[in-house]
Symmetry: C2
Subunit: 363 residues, 2 copies
């Protein structure tokens, strides 16, 4: 793990220690983590945290939380020094040995962990804390460079060599390196569609890297795509269901991140992503009308909410138009709908046609 | 895919065709798929389908369902001939071109697909139909032999060579082959625990294959473990949370399958599995009491239901005792709880101790 994390923690600890020796009241600052403290800058391309901060100084009332915050930092320090890691849940259990500073429920320790990462403005993974869940598979023209956990020896993982299987993204991918001559990354909503593209080696024909998100992409999946796209200057095209959930949850989370984790979005969003499809216009252009589904109550609510409140949709005219078109057509469309024209229409017709005009993708 | 599937379909089609020419009423037989038609034989080790069948003969009332069944078989025939595949959802969309035999909603096409697989008593994957979802990652002493989807050339996938990442199990794994000298398969509930064991190369120290199930194992994950365990005569040890959900949902599904898919359990269960832990007794033996959680209403209900109604729990005395012990202790324990004694207590103490006495694992 990153050495600078250990250093950041050590410096803060020394400052607190000196404050105490000087009989100053030690204090910690945290950015306020809520939607009111979120800024969306179209150019930067992600939800960013604003300037509002709250202070936690050491008082009779805050002594337990203060101690827990310090112990959480100490745990992180120990973990990164040892090049180990801990899930959020493991960190909670470790606290059972902290005497009076132990946590009673995991949400308490999660909140402290969020505070610490917000304070340092680094992502949890760099503090050695990893999410519980994996997610995200890769196949295609990419070599991932990792190291053997036992020997530390460099490993080269060729993502064209997994047959019908694929490379599963590790929970923490901060230290991976990449080699590729691919032209783009295709981020796919469903595992079934991913498997079809793998089966037909679409990554060879299109010279690309396929990533299966399996619904809303996990932190690890977004971080992997982001690091790869930054490092290799690759565009990212999203191929998801053409419904309000696919657009405002899956795609928007991939591209700009989420509101209540704004202090992390700079690491966990993919601003270079654009939306290949399925668009409401595709329903017309690719004659999918009789393979659509009527919008449900919940779809309509989600679309109207987004038009009214979501800064991302509101700031992009093409998205406003697309959402309005969807509402007026009254239907949603899934990425499997192309099967209506034959199982491989999506590979032989839809994707090649769309990929000829990437500049027309929705932002 | 398997050639015999195409043959099975062709033979049935010929029989139906001859019946029609002879002016006999064509008919199809399906086993009844419900709990009343399930048998549990301890020796065989999985829920099995009984002898109740229902007949679908061609009448004015059944003409549409009959036609849909035939068309579904024809689609399967086409897919296996071409060595292609279709998800359940894709199959639904393909039906949009079947004129009056088209399906209105996907549950209709799913039911027909279930009928067809029950009729032939083969699993859907062998008919070329694959689930929507992936699931299951592998790391450790295993070489998976697959083929390059583009060239058909044999690929050897060494599951020790993925660093912090892992091999993601394909949706259909009927055609994979295996090479291994590992001594057992360790099937792990959470991705976080899997990542810890990978990070510390537990598969080297213990000479084993690690599989991350990520909760209740998917069809693909169970099928993979089963095929690997059968082929290489390996025992399978399950390491899941010590709570009624971990035992009666995750572990029991892995080991004996599920009630409402009994016609498939012979392929999708792992009778050679046993339960390493976490057991209620481990809470005492490994001093985890203050890292447990009180059983919730839903846990108690689930445990009592299992003791009363679940043929698997009822037939195994050690399981009855363990469930009763859990109820009387009134607590559940997670696989992360060992972190209380230090992050790597699970690797250095718990797993090695347990693995010395595999004959004591719960059945």
């Amino acid at each position: 793990m990153d050495k600078s994390t250990a250093k950041l923690i050590q410096e803060l600890a020394e400052k607190l220690y000196k404050d105490i020796l000087k009989k100053n009241i030690p204090a910690l600052n945290f950015p306020v983590r809520s939607l009111e403290n979120v800024i969306y800058d179209k150019k930067k391309g992600f939800f960013e945290i604003g300037d509002l901060t709250k202070e936690r100084s050491l008082t009779v009332n805050t002594v337990k939380t203060f101690a827990q915050t310090i112990r959480m930092m100490a745990l992180s320090h120990e973990i990164v020094k040892k090049d180990d890691m801990a899930t959020k849940r493991e960190a909670y259990y470790v606290s059972k040995n902290w005497g009076d500073a132990r946590f009673t429920e995991q949400p308490e320790s999660d909140a402290i962990m969020d505070d610490v990462e917000a304070h340092f403005r680094i992502n949890r993974e760099r503090m050695g804390f990893i999410p519980e869940e994996k997610g995200g598979e890769v196949a295609g023209k990419l070599i991932v460079i990792d190291k053997d956990p036992a020997t530390g020896k460099e490993l080269r993982i060729d993502c064209t060599q997994f047959g019908s299987g694929s490379y599963s993204i590790p929970i923490a991918c901060e230290d991976l390196k990449f080699e590729t001559h691919a032209k783009f990354i295709l981020a796919i909503e469903t595992a079934g569609m991913f498997q079809r593209l793998v089966k037909h080696s679409f990554y060879n024909t299109a010279n690309c890297i396929l990533v299966s998100m399996g619904g809303v992409p996990t932190r690890a999946c977004r971080r992997f795509i982001r690091r790869l796209a930054d490092d290799k200057k690759l565009p990212v095209y999203a191929f998801v269901d053409g419904d309000p959930y696919g657009i405002t949850n899956i795609y928007r989370t991939l591209k700009v991140g989420s509101g209540n984790n704004a202090h992390l979005n700079q690491y966990f969003c993919v601003p270079q992503a654009s939306y290949l499809g399925v668009t409401p216009q595709d329903i017309i252009d690719f004659k999918l009308k009789d393979a659509t589904h009527p919008l449900q109550e919940v779809d309509i609510k989600r679309a109207k909410d987004a038009l009214k409140n979501d800064p991302f949709i509101r700031m992009h005219k093409p998205w406003k138009k697309a959402m309005e078109q969807m509402l007026s057509m009254g239907v949603r469309v899934e990425q499997q709908a192309f099967a209506k024209h034959g199982l491989n229409h999506v590979i032989e017709t839809y994707l090649p046609k769309k990929l000829k005009n990437t500049s027309k993708f929705l932002p």
